[in-house]
């Protein structure tokens, strides 16, 4: 039996989600824009999916735009606002610890003449609202801050930032909520929030699915032009089966959040406290972080070695974040938190799901300790 503790990278699709995807693909394959009966039925089905998502997120159906996932959602939100509103200003505020799909999107806009402020974070990876305020300028068009950090699980003060931004009605506020969906509540009805990105595969849904919340009245320059689907914001024949699968995954994860959030938090606390006690292990995640992410560094050890050693025992964890682990040696996020090179290049991320059991976590802890001891012997 594999113990999968890399749920921050992706989750295992729920069987019911797969079943929906398959049924829709088989029975409702028509193009929802076609005017014949089957097309109409497929269009209805997608509307129902959109309605269900909107209802669960507490927004209006017209505010839900289907996307292919987190990277697209973040790109669409950031580039969409930047390009659409550039005559009003070309300044963007984000943080140093954003996911690459936000960070590199902002970097790309710099090459097009935009100015970007990358806000610092504290030791726990958290942005200071006061810094946001100081960074705001007359030509600021967008603030993009993630809700839960994908690497270390810190929770940003979204509500306080949104409160602040109510005072700046010309500035759009985008939240990368990919890691928080189903784990940390987010009130999208907050007046200060304009855009929020969600992804399906982090919530036991499917890769290639996701939604972007776009508050009514917010206009975006599309990334894709074409047949005008998705309110003209995102052309392309709709991935109805994927969109329905997202609606289902969202419903299921919300049910689990209701029933098991407390329990997940408890399991994480036990994991956190056990790791805290281990020799040579440094905690990078704040104790009061998202209920599914624990990030540690074991300076002096190459993280790949630990990951491979654990994998041999059927336990899957990862380094920093899957999206950047292939490229960067040191974690940009850990460096932003003020950690030195040694610590920043020895990160390990353990990410849980609602299906993770306490027994699995105990097995991991024992294996982890064993692996560390053995490696120490080799090194000595």
């Amino acid at each position: 039996m594999m113990i999968y503790l890399d749920n921050g990278a992706t989750t295992k699709p729920h069987p019911e989600v797969l079943e929906s995807f398959q049924k829709v693909s088989e029975n409702y394959f028509a193009n929802p824009s076609s005017i014949h009966e089957l097309g109409g039925t497929v269009s209805d089905l997608q509307s129902e999916a959109r309605k269900q998502i909107a209802q669960i997120l507490g927004v209006e159906p017209e505010e839900i735009v289907f996307t292919s996932g987190g990277t697209e959602g973040n790109n669409l939100a950031i580039k969409g606002i930047a390009l659409e509103h550039q005559n009003r200003g070309k300044h963007i505020i984000t943080s140093k610890v954003e996911h690459p799909s936000v960070y590199n999107t902002c970097k790309s806009l710099e090459t097009l003449g935009f100015e970007v402020t990358y806000l610092p974070v504290n030791r726990h990876g958290i942005v200071d609202v006061e810094d946001v305020k100081q960074a705001l300028r007359d030509d600021t068009v967008l603030v993009s801050i993630m809700h839960v950090n994908n690497e270390i699980g810190s929770i940003q003060p979204i509500e306080a930032i949104a409160d602040l931004l109510i005072e700046y009605p010309k500035v759009f506020f985008h939240i990368d909520a990919v890691q928080s969906l189903g784990k940390v509540p987010l009130d999208l009805s907050h007046e200060g929030i304009d855009l929020a990105t969600f992804s399906g595969h982090k919530i036991n849904g499917l890769k290639g699915t996701g939604v972007l919340y776009v508050k009514k009245g917010t206009t975006l320059f599309p990334l894709f032009h074409g047949g005008g689907q998705e309110f003209g914001i995102r052309s392309g024949t709709e991935n109805v089966a994927g969109n329905v699968a997202f609606a289902k995954a969202l419903r299921l994860i919300k049910e689990k959040e209701q029933a098991k959030r407390h329990e997940l938090n408890e399991i994480r606390m036990k994991l956190y406290e056990a790791l805290e006690q281990m020799e040579g292990v440094e905690m990078n995640s704040p104790k009061e972080g998202a209920p599914h992410i624990v990030h540690v560094s074991v300076p002096g050890f190459k993280p790949e070695v630990i990951i491979h050693a654990l994998y041999d025992q059927g336990i899957v964890i990862s380094t920093q974040s899957a999206c950047s682990s292939k490229r960067e040696e040191e974690s940009r996020v850990l460096k932003a938190c003020g950690h030195d090179r040694k610590r920043a290049s020895s990160g390990l991320r353990i990410t849980l799901s609602y299906d993770t059991t306490e027994a699995e976590v105990q097995t991991f802890l024992q294996a982890f300790e064993r692996v560390l001891n053995e490696l120490r012997k080799v090194l000595e």
Binding site: S20, E37, L45, A49, R251
Partner: protein, 400 residues
């Protein structure tokens, strides 16, 4: 939940003199129908009120259902206690503690049951003192209290409540006769139906369906609209008239610009026949003056010529915006704006006549006999009984 009753007040019903009991009986029936999905809930009647006894049912959905019943002026979630001073004090305290963020309060006692030994004034004072003594940080404000604790001492018990919730007002459906509503699928006609129901009128629907020029989905729209409206007055009979042959004949035989006028006349003829058959005394439409070509005064004059039944147009003086607002409020707007052709939009000529005359239209119709097709259409009417529950079935629930 501390409240176990919903107190129902009727508004205008009090004005109806001798017929009063007929109105109240109807309201009682309608209320019971609306609450049928809640098996534990009972409705009981007092002289000038009704009480919905919750018996453990959560009040939220019950209130929402009651808010759709015409004839109810207002409602309150209430708790029933014994006619004893101590019980009343304890109940009032619960009600105050239950009120969110209340910093100030006022007590308002009504003693309808005069045999209760303590006067209203005295009870006000006693209850107020009890509340002050047993709470902290809450004071009395008789002018603008955050919460008003109302206490009604009646023969069968004392009711304590603090909030008054608006009802739908109007008159109970079924007290105002019956009308046949011409339902197109657009925004206006469902609103007209709603307003008729609000005046106590029972509504039956007639819809003209022209396959393949109008799709099954246009028909579904009409079914869904009827379903929404049935929440306000119980199941609704829907007559679906096959209209294709007539429409084709009009298109062929009548100059294009007059097609709409003649089509409307034919629809009215059919509607009148349906009224006759079903014992209905009037026709209602969603027409509003000046919106489209068929709704000018001249058009109304010509179209109305074919029937001497009363044609009621509750929206005649409404602005589009007002109509849209009602449609949104009652839940028909989203259905109405679904983009499917209905029989009114599909044969619309590019420039319909806005100023037709009876003389001209009669001359145009003189050579054309629609009777045979009208008879055929009447023979083939599809009659459906639509209730809200039916149309509420979520079609894709297994996938979502």
């Amino acid at each position: 939940m501390i409240y176990d009753h919903i107190l129902i007040r009727y508004g205008e019903l009090g004005l109806k003199g001798k017929n009063r009991h007929l109105f109240i009986d109807q309201l009682h029936r309608n209320l019971k129908n609306v609450l049928a999905p809640f098996p534990d809930v009972k409705v009981s009647r007092a002289r000038d009120r009704m009480y919905v006894v919750l018996n453990g049912q959560h009040p939220e959905p019950v209130i929402r259902a009651c808010q759709k019943v015409f004839g109810i002026y207002s409602m309150s979630l209430a708790m029933k206690v014994e006619n004893k001073e101590e019980a009343i004090k304890a109940g009032a305290l619960k009600a105050l503690n239950n009120a969110k963020d209340a910093k100030t309060f006022k007590v308002n006692v009504r003693r309808a049951y005069k045999k209760f030994p303590v006067s209203s004034q005295e009870m006000n004072r006693l209850v107020g003192a009890h509340l002050l003594k047993n709470t902290t940080g809450i004071s009395v404000d008789v002018h603008e209290p955050d919460v008003e604790i109302r206490i009604e001492i009646r023969e069968n018990g004392t009711f304590i409540y603090s909030e008054v919730i608006d009802g739908a007002r109007g008159l109970p459906v079924g007290t105002g006769g019956k009308t046949l509503l011409m339902l197109s699928g657009g925004i206006d006609s469902p609103v007209a139906g709603y307003l008729m129901m609000k005046r106590g009128v029972e509504v039956e629907m007639i819809h003209f369906h022209s396959p393949p020029f109008t799709s099954e989905r246009a028909k579904q729209k009409v079914l869904d609209l009827t379903g929404v409206l049935s929440q306000y007055g119980g199941p609704i009979t829907l007559n679906i008239v096959p209209f294709t042959k007539l429409q084709q004949k009009i298109f062929r035989e009548i100059p294009n610009r007059y097609g709409m006028t003649v089509m409307r006349r034919v629809m009215f003829k059919i509607a009148e026949k349906v009224c006759e058959r079903r014992g209905i005394l009037s026709i209602a439409t969603g027409e509003s003056l000046g919106q489209v070509a068929s709704q000018t005064m001249a058009s109304m004059n010509v179209i109305n010529e074919v029937t001497n039944l009363p044609v009621i147009r509750p929206l005649v003086a409404f602005d589009k915006e007002e109509i849209v607002n009602i449609a949104k409020k009652i839940g028909t707007y989203e259905i109405s704006i679904r983009p499917y052709e209905d029989c009114c939009t599909i044969f619309v000529p590019s420039s319909p006549v806005t100023n037709p005359t009876r003389k001209k239209v009669n001359a145009l119709e003189a050579g054309v006999d629609f009777n045979e097709e009208i008879e055929e259409a009447l023979r083939n009417i599809e009659v459906l009984e639509i209730s809200h529950a039916q149309t509420q079935k979520q079609p894709f629930s297994d996938l979502l």
